[in-house]
């Protein structure tokens, strides 16, 4: 730095010198003029000039030297400037490095402080440990003595341990077995608990059902007694009816027989009136005979009879054959569809069809011919039979009572009957565990339907 300033100053000084030199030359010229004027002086001054020339030459030499020197200084200066820049760069780097070093220095100072603190702590601890070590040495000695005792003890324990290990293994085995057994028992226990819960529920249900059944049973017992009584009464009534109707037949037949004797042996000696009365007695007797017959039939229903497998078509054809005269006289047309073969009470079944066909013919409209259709239909586990006619029909208010015994809708003058036929039909159907009903409208004909389930013999 100083060198740089120095060289600049030198350069400035050099320039000053050059200027001064030119001034001096101007002065010299003026001085020459003055010299002429000043001849005297000149000479004096020529001496002086020579001296000055000598000085000037010296100065010129010096000047050249100084120029050379200035050029060298420029070069040196440039070199110095470059170096200067380098140094500035270096200086800047050094500033940065310096800052870093300052920072590191501070850190290290902190660390040094900390280490100093730690050092103090360690020192303190060291001292403590020293104390402790001394104590431990004392304790150690005691421990060594104890250790020996314990080793002895350990040996004993080791032996005992072996025994225990063995026993332990045995017990572990046993424990494993017990654990397995326990798990099994636990599982079974849970299952049993579940089952127990289920059983509790089932039990409650059963108890409830049991109670209900007991109630029902006691109700049934009562109903049964009532039924048994009624059945007994019914049976007695049936027996009574049978005996009465059967026994009444005999005197009636006797009357009828004697009517025949009268007709054969005395018709010639009786007048027309007497014969008319006899005929009336005869007709009435026969009607009473039919009535008693029906009563006998009805009272005998269901007594010691067996189910037989019968083709219903055959039963119907037999009935039609039996009723040939009636059918012919009334010019009835009877259509019979396919019929099943069923287990039925044959005699009763025959009577059922006979009653229904007879009714269908009997209750025809005046001036018409009966058209009767007998059909069957399989419905689930039973058969439905239908006997349809084109007769007088029945008002629906009578649908129920026509099946009751001795219920008649017509006088003898209109349609003869005893009020037993349909009640007998109902009994026969009930005997087969079926149902009977009528579909009809006045003047539109009637259809009697009944069902017969599949009965096993």
């Amino acid at each position: 730095m100083d060198k740089a300033k120095k060289s600049e100053e030198l350069i400035e000084a050099n320039k000053e010198i050059a200027i001064q030199n030119e001034e001096i030359e101007k002065r010299a010229a003026e001085l020459t003029i003055a010299h002429k004027e000043l001849v005297f002086q000149n000479r004096e001054k020529e001496k002086r000039a020579d001296e000055l020339s000598m000085v000037s030459k010296e100065l010129d030499f010096q000047n050249n030297e100084k120029e050379k020197r200035a050029d060298e200084l420029v070069i040196a200066n440039n070199e110095l400037a470059y170096q200067n820049e380098e140094k500035e760069k270096r200086a800047a780097e050094l500033v940065i490095a310096n800052k870093e070093l300052v920072f590191q220095n501070r850190e290290k100072e902190k660390r040094a402080d900390e280490l100093s603190m730690a050092n103090k702590e360690l020192d303190f601890q060291n001292k403590e440990k020293g104390k402790r070590a001394e104590e431990l040495i004392v304790a150690n000695k005691k421990l060594i003595s104890l250790n020996e005792e314990k080793e002895n003890r350990a040996l004993e324990l080791h032996n005992a341990n072996k025994e225990l290990v063995f026993q332990n293994r045995e017990r572990e085995k046993r424990a494993d077995e017990l654990s397995m057994a326990n798990k099994e028992l636990d599982f079974q226990n849970k299952e049993k608990e579940k089952r127990a819960d289920e059983l509790v529920i089932a039990n409650k249900e059963l108890i409830f059902q049991n109670e209900e059944k007991e109630k029902r049973a006691s109700e049934l017992v009562v109903a049964n007694k009532e039924l048994a009584f009624q059945v007994g009464v019914n049976e007695v009534l049936k027996q009574f009816t049978y005996v009465v109707s059967h026994n009444l037949q005999e005197p009636l037949r006797t009357v009828s027989n004697y009517m025949q004797v009268f007709e054969e042996d005395y018709s010639k000696i009786l007048d027309d009136n007497a014969l008319g009365y006899l005929r009336l007695v005869d007709e009435t007797t026969k009607r009473m005979g039919r009535l008693l017959c029906s009563l006998t039939d009805i009272s005998r229903l269901g007594r010691n009879i067996k189910l037989t497998t019968v083709d219903c078509k055959k039963i119907i054809n037999d009935v039609i054959a039996d009723l040939a005269a009636l059918i012919e006289n009334s010019k009835a047309v009877i259509e019979v569809t396919d019929m099943p073969t069923l287990n039925v009470y044959e005699v009763e079944m025959r009577q059922l069809f006979q009653n229904l066909i007879t009714n269908a013919i009997k209750f025809r409209k005046k001036g018409t011919h009966p058209e009767i259709k007998i059909s069957s239909e399989n419905i689930n586990d039973k058969w439905k039979f239908s006997v349809s006619d084109n007769g007088i029909g029945i008002d629906n208010i009578h649908f129920e009572r026509i099946f009751d015994i001795f219920q008649r809708l017509h006088t003898d003058a209109e349609y003869e009957g005893n009020g037993i036929g349909l009640s007998n039909c109902k009994k026969i159907v009930q005997l087969h565990h079926g149902e009977i009903w009528i579909e009809s409208m006045l003047d539109k004909g009637s259809t009697f339907n009944f069902t017969i389930p599949n009965l096993t013999t």
């Binding site: 059967h246 037949r253 006797t254 009828s256 027989n257 004697y258 004797v261 006998t296 005998r300 010691n304």
Partner: protein
């Protein structure tokens, strides 16, 4: 009609029936001897006592079922015990008011009972019987 019906026995407690049946038999068989017994016991006694007498032994017996004392069934049981030769001399036909099929099937269990007829016995039925068995 291969032969004339010589002797008929009626076993019935009902006198009216006996009267009428006898009358009906006579209408078509006027020559026939008709023996009337009003109980099974009486009929049985007659048959046994007459067993070795040549005449008249009934060829046809009409037997009622419902009778006081020995009824028709009891008569059949006793008759069955009789000498087979005696049995073979007559055919037995049940003649009853009963329309009970039970009675009819019960008769069929006796091999020597030929038929079961419902009262009254008429001349028409009589003709059928004579035509069928004699």
């Amino acid at each position: 009609m291969s032969d004339i019906l010589k002797c008929v026995m009626l076993v019935d407690d009902d006198k009216n029936d006996n009267f009428f049946h006898e009358r009906e038999i006579r209408k078509t068989n006027p020559e026939t001897i008709i023996i009337v017994k009003t109980s099974g016991k009486e009929a049985l006694d007659y048959l046994i006592s007459q067993s070795y007498i040549i005449e008249p032994h009934p060829e046809l017996i009409f037997l009622d079922i419902n009778m006081p004392g020995m009824n028709g069934w009891e008569f059949l049981a006793e008759y069955n015990k009789m000498d087979k030769e005696l049995q073979s001399r007559a055919i037995i036909i049940m003649l009853s008011t009963s329309k009970n099929p039970e009675d009819e099937s019960r008769c069929k269990s006796w091999s020597f009972v030929s038929d079961y007829i419902k009262k009254p016995l008429t001349r028409g039925i009589m003709n059928d019987i004579v035509g069928k068995y004699f």
